[in-house]
Amino acid sequence: MRDILGIVNFENEKVRVEGLSNFRSIPAISFLGRYRVVDFVLSNMANSGIDHMKVLIRDKPRSLIEHIGIGSHYNINSKSGSLQILYSDRNITNKLYFTDVNLLNQHSSYIKHSNQDYVVIAPSYMICKINYQDVVEQHIKTGADVTAVYKQIDDGHKRFIGCEEFDIINNRVTVIKDSHGSTSVKNISLETYVMHKDFLLDLIDEASHQSAAYSIASFLANNDNIKYINIQGYKYEGYLACINSLEEYYQTNIDLINYEKAKEIFSHDWPVYTKTNDSPPAHYTQRAEVKNCMVANGCVVQGKIENCILGRAVKIKKGAVVKNSVILPNAIIGEDAVVENAVIDKGAKIIVNKEIIGSKEQIAYVRRGDTI
């Protein structure tokens, strides 16, 4: 097993999960009840035997810093490993100039002085299950400059819009472009790159000289650069979702209620780690009716729930009916309230008898801590 440096990247400036991302950064958003979005990439790294990680943060650092801590719940030991949060010391008011290249450039000495030869850079907002050791092995075997992970999809006309797609010839990535949903079958980029540490340092240096607005992805995508950089594709076959809008957030949650689907990312030999809270098991009263749900500990269900995700310590009161909804931790759905096709943010209270009804096309959203 190789000693790899893991870098968790932030999303690009176009990504926005309407509502939820007003209150915290995307990696810190509650996901599938008991997790945060960032848990998946960090667990992939931990399960790949990576115990030196850097997490890049663009904004709203507090909730992410609190959730990640020093990484001990991702099996990072403070003596043998390290998890370092990299945040900009400079005031960058224009989001366009707040890129991963810029941030890595500020902290390049930490990359330079790390003991690891190879680096994997992966974004926090892609949900997948991947062993980065395999990517590094392929990278070394092919002698590529960069190995970029992609998945061939056939529903590109409706999903992964706004992601990047690759043209690939003989396994080499020749074109990187935005995915607009015009075709169904395409190679979606997981925005996950493996390269030698020295190559990354050169890339950062070169990119920041060429333009202050370059990100790693946009630098590689540039027609002049991609000609000279040997980017090999690594084909990923597993489950993939990208949390880049409220709709994708909602749909990914709902899709994974199905256990057969969820098995693609959850298995006992590849645990998804998260910060836990010592909550008691979920409790269902005599009047509970529950079908097709994913329920976190600490919940008390007295009403009816169907096709729902319940975060930690959610309370569903008597007579309440909740369908096709994502309820974030500590929210309370009052007696006889009705909630459908909604995302209820953390700690919100839906009062007695209230109806919150969205549709598949227009998900209803209730803000953090609001009482409605």
């Binding site: 599938l32 008991r34 909550s279 098991p281 269902y284 097709n292 329920v295 500990n297």
Partner: protein, 373 residues
């Protein structure tokens, strides 16, 4: 290393009445409440009472218990000035012997206690289910200027003869202590929770140790001796939920209490959490055919059957059409399609076959006979 009150948990019990559940684990390591082990309760009580150092005295076949207890971080008892310490019998200059009784177990660890120069020592049992603030009990002990304070529970008069019974004055000072009296004068029972002034405890233990006629037991020897010597003994009345889960029936009953009484232990209380090991699992999946009523279900479970008045631990699978009634299913057990489980405790990692029926209407059964491969 100096600490005001050191806790010592007697966790040596083989728990023979819990039968196969304790085959490879001591009784305090038995699973409880959908998520916990029994010893999580005294250990979490210690942590929440701001006690810093806890010695856990183990003896019998205690690999599971020893490994578990030594992970002090489970209860937030890790760190610079904190710790849980497993205390097995050790060889000494004077030779070696097993712990001969509750008092002897503490006596053999005087050197451990001395390290912390405690003013008070709290002695607990590792196999009782309850929540208690030992810091309040210490306040009570100090206010009474007591030498020994014993937590007391009001039991029914019928039960009283199974306990050590404290006969007290109005101010809760104890004038008589009767171990398992055939005709109890009173129903205030010792919970086996003691706060001693350490100097009094140490002297009493050293005096008791060489006595050939002593059982080296707190209830039978130490406490009566202290009363004879005119020491100040007080009973600290306790009112909350308390259960000794020493038999399969009482273990099952305690789980039914949890469900029927609406969280009598207040497991949901953020200010007095019961801490336990954090095992990474999958989320809890409830399938399209599930029916859940009056049940507590832990993360990692995959449920597509009917679960009524039952407690399911981590990673239990209940397949479509299976029915679980009034039962306790321990971690990683699998109940196949169409099976029926009634009034049972199913040990961890057990397999119930398709359409198998286990349990009966009139008694509680323990299922331990088929491990998951």
């Amino acid at each position: 290393m100096k600490t005001e009150m050191l806790a010592m948990i007697l966790a040596g019990g083989r728990g023979t009445r819990l039968m196969e559940l304790t085959e490879k684990a001591a009784k305090p390591a038995v699973h409880f409440g959908g998520k916990y082990r029994i010893i999580d309760f005294p250990l979490s009580n210690c942590a929440n009472s701001k006690i810093k150092y806890v010695g856990v005295l183990t003896q019998y076949e205690s690999i599971v218990l020893n490994s578990y207890v030594s992970q002090s971080s489970f209860w937030g008892l890790d760190g610079r000035d904190k710790g849980t310490f497993v205390l097995n019998p050790r060889e000494k200059v004077t030779g070696f012997s097993l712990y001969m009784g509750t008092a002897d177990a503490i006596y053999q660890n005087i050197d451990f206690m001395d390290q912390y120069e405690p003013k008070y020592v709290l002695i607990l049992s590792g196999d009782h289910i309850y929540k208690m603030d030992y810091d309040h009990m210490l306040d009570f002990h100090k206010q009474n200027n007591a030498d020994l304070t014993i937590a007391g529970l009001t039991v029914t008069l019928e039960e009283a003869s199974r306990f050590g019974i404290m006969n007290t004055n109005k101010d809760y000072s104890i004038y008589e202590f009767e171990e398992k009296p055939p005709v109890p004068k009173n129903n205030l029972a010792s919970m086996g929770i003691y706060i001693f002034n350490y100097d009094v405890l140490k002297k009493a233990l050293i005096e008791d140790a060489p006595r050939k006629d002593s059982a080296h037991d707190f209830g039978k020897n130490i406490i009566p001796n202290l009363l004879n010597e005119g020491k100040r003994l007080f009973a600290y009345p306790f009112a909350g939920y308390w259960k000794d889960v020493g038999t399969i029936d009482s273990l099952w009953q305690a789980h039914m209490d949890l469900l029927a009484q609406g969280d009598p232990l207040k497991l949901d209380d953020d200010n007095w959490k019961i801490y336990t090991e954090d095992i990474p699992t999958t989320p809890q999946f409830i399938g399209p055919n599930a029916c859940l009523k009056g049940s507590s279900i832990n993360q990692g479970c995959i449920i597509d059957g009917t679960v009524t008045n039952s407690v399911l631990f981590r990673d239990v699978v209940i397949e479509k059409g299976a029915e679980i009634i009034n039962s306790v299913i321990m971690p990683e057990s699998i109940v196949k399609k169409g099976a029926k489980v009634k009034n049972c405790i199913v040990k961890e990692k057990q397999l119930i076959l398709e359409n198998e029926v286990i349990g009966s209407d009139d008694k509680v059964e323990l299922f331990t006979s088929r491990e998951v491969k």
